[in-house]
Symmetry: C2
Subunit: 140 residues, 2 copies
């Protein structure tokens, strides 16, 4: 018999011990990976209901709407769930110049060289800043 979690049509998120699922965020137009974040049940519910991305911050232990500080909100164009329902994927329209709090479009701006042993020296890739985080986040 087929597994209802994998083959069924009822959304049944498998939250981890901290009550979270992983969320992969890509640009709906370019396909670029923008960020990886987490959602608790409330963030997932708000995202589905509103079509705007909400997350749960593991460091701040708080629900947050993407863009609430920066204005760089994300409109969800499509959401998908994976086979075992412990990860979701949202394709978003990223408002403003970037998704990363460091001032870049994507959080993935450093490459890890392969076929290496020992300490690994990262290499910047697509790392130009598209906005000044100090100006965006330190508004009085």
């Amino acid at each position: 018999m087929s597994d209802p979690i994998e083959e069924g049509l009822l959304l049944s998120p498998k939250f981890d011990a901290d009550g979270l699922v992983t969320c992969v965020v890509t640009d709906a137009k370019s396909g670029e990976l923008l960020m990886v974040a987490h959602m608790n049940a409330e963030a997932l519910k708000r995202t589905v209901e509103s079509g705007e991305a909400w997350y749960f911050s593991r460091s701040r232990k708080a629900l947050w709407k993407k863009g609430e500080s920066s204005g760089h909100t994300q409109r969800v164009i499509e959401m998908r769930v994976d086979c075992d329902q412990d990860a979701v994927w949202i394709k978003v329209e990223q408002h403003g110049p970037g998704a990363c709090h460091t001032g870049r479009r994507s959080c993935f701006y450093r490459a890890v060289p392969l076929k290496q042993t020992g300490a690994i020296a990262l290499q910047f890739r697509d790392a130009d800043k598209t906005f000044d985080p100090a100006a965006v986040y330190d508004k009085k």
Copy 2:
């Protein structure tokens, strides 16, 4: 002063309480999101050193090489790390017909409709099976 984790060039993975980082896996050619998995320090080390994808299974609590049962290995074309170094992204050459243990190319074969409340009915998308998992995994 800039944060060495975010702006530095030393790979310093921030493993969670279970010793894991999240790994996003995309097809290097098409850009398609194939799967989301986890890596512990050993899986990350083996992936970097070998250029082949290794993961840590949270359900089986075991290190595994992608494709060790199915033959559907993944050659890593590029690896990146995110701003706070708790997630990595690998672009892979997927060998064989698919990455998902359910018999599909990608694990993300169901869409979550938006602007809904209450119980959510998923919709199959790109859900055709590209291989028969029973034949691939139940080999004697």
